[in-house]
Every structure is written in structure tokens, then in C-alpha cells.
């Protein structure tokens, strides 16, 4: 099985990641994967590019803890998270969350749980370049709401 978490500049291949995740595991009947991609607009403005900053060390630790939480909450077989950092363009893949399970409900739930968790707890920050200049992306209230569904606070402090 591959490492559960990767923080990397390079792109990833969805098929290869899913194949590695379920490799030889004949108890897997369901694979839910989510890929986040860069849109060319945000808050009504054109986005030319996106710079992803992160907190090395804490990022990996935080995502490992999220996967532990998902494994104990849901009846899943395995999970994999890849998050890209550095400079990205519209259409680029940013993030992958893939989860395998015996039955489909668990993989859907765990995958969405991990995405909600990651959006509100993993230390990444996006800075986008618009015609008006570069700006830090604001956190979305809807992400905190999504997180609260799981009975977890969105952020501390």
C-alpha cells in the first residue's frame, strides 16, 4: 500500500492512485474519489493562477490524523490524500482524496468527511492572481458548516 499522504508539486494520476490503493485487496467493492481542480473564476473575478502555501510537517501530521479519524469512524479499507503545493493554473488538479470500502456508503461518507476536514483543518493557504492583483483567498463559511455536520468544530482559537 502507498503512503497515505503526499504533499507534492507534481501532478498525480487518478487511475494510478486508485489502482495502487486497492491493489490486490479483493474485499474492496467500492472506491470513492474526489479531485479538486482550479477554476478560472472566484468571487466573480478572473483567476489567472493560484499559489498554494502550506505548513511543512504540520500538514502531513494533520492529514494523517484525519485519516485515522476516518478509519475509526467509517468501515473503510484504505484512504489516500494527495495535495499539491506551489503554482497552479486553471484546470490543474489540486487535491485528491480516495477511499476504498466493501460497500459504497462508507467510501462516499469517508471521502466527503476527509474533504470537509481537510478544507477546514489542513494548513494550506491559497493566493490567487486576478486582474486586480494577487490576493489571499478567504475561508468559506460554507466549509465550516460542512465540517459541523460531522459534529466537529471548524477551527480553534
Amino acid at each position: 500500500m502507498p503512503a497515505r499522504v503526499a504533499i507534492q508539486h507534481q501532478d498525480f494520476d487518478l487511475s494510478a492512485e486508485v489502482a495502487a490503493l486497492r491493489l490486490g485487496d479483493m474485499q474492496v467493492g467500492a472506491v470513492c474519489s474526489f479531485v479538486g481542480t482550479v477554476r478560472d473564476r472566484n468571487e466573480g473575478d478572473q483567476v489567472a493562477s493560484l499559489e498554494l502555501e502550506h505548513y511543512p510537517g504540520m500538514t502531513e501530521k494533520a492529514i494523517e490524523a484525519m485519516i485515522d479519524a476516518a478509519m475509526s469512524r467509517f468501515d473503510i479499507r484504505s484512504a489516500r490524500v494527495i495535495h499539491r503545493i506551489g503554482l497552479l493554473q486553471p484546470l490543474d488538479q489540486i487535491v485528491l482524496v480516495a477511499v476504498t470500502s466493501a460497500h459504497r456508503g462508507e467510501s462516499f461518507q469517508a471521502c466527503e468527511f476527509l474533504m470537509d476536514y481537510l478544507k477546514t483543518q489542513a494548513p494550506f493557504w491559497k493566493k490567487e492572481v486576478t486582474p486586480a492583483g494577487a490576493r489571499w483567498v478567504d475561508a468559506r463559511v460554507s466549509d465550516d458548516v460542512a465540517m459541523a455536520r460531522w459534529g466537529l468544530p471548524a477551527g480553534k482559537g
Binding site: E53, M58, I94, V95, T120, P123, W125, W136, K156, G157
Partner: protein, 83 residues
Amino acid sequence: MKVNIKYFASIREALGQSSETCDTQAKTVAALRDELLALSPVHAQALSRHKPVRMALDQTMCDELATLHEGCEVAFFPPVTGG
């Protein structure tokens, strides 16, 4: 007590530095933040309690009640926007 402080994203940019080391008597993140707020007008602005600043102690999300220890790492950053 020596504490390693890290800043990220808009807070890092506002302060013009990504880290600093601090010799402090502070016992909690709250007390450390008070000291930092008093350091300079730029610190006062960037770490203001009127802004949504998030904190981590030793690379785990924390609140201001968290207790410092020798050589610990405290980070201040805006709400996260990854994914």
C-alpha cells in the same frame, strides 16, 4: 524559555518574516500572543484579536489556553483555504 514562532500566508506577508525565535516568560499561547502584540505596530495589526487568527502548538491546532514548553513551536496563521 525559548519558543520558535512561525507565521504563514497573509500573516507572514504582513510581518515580512516567516519565523522568529522568542525568549519569553509566557506560560500560554495567550500570554505569548500578548507579548508579540506589544512588539511592534505591525505585530499588533497582524496578530490582532479582532482578526480570525488560527494557532498551532507543536504542529497541532490549538487555542490560546495551550501551555508552552521549552523549545516548543507556536504558529500563527489565517483560517486555512486548501483543498
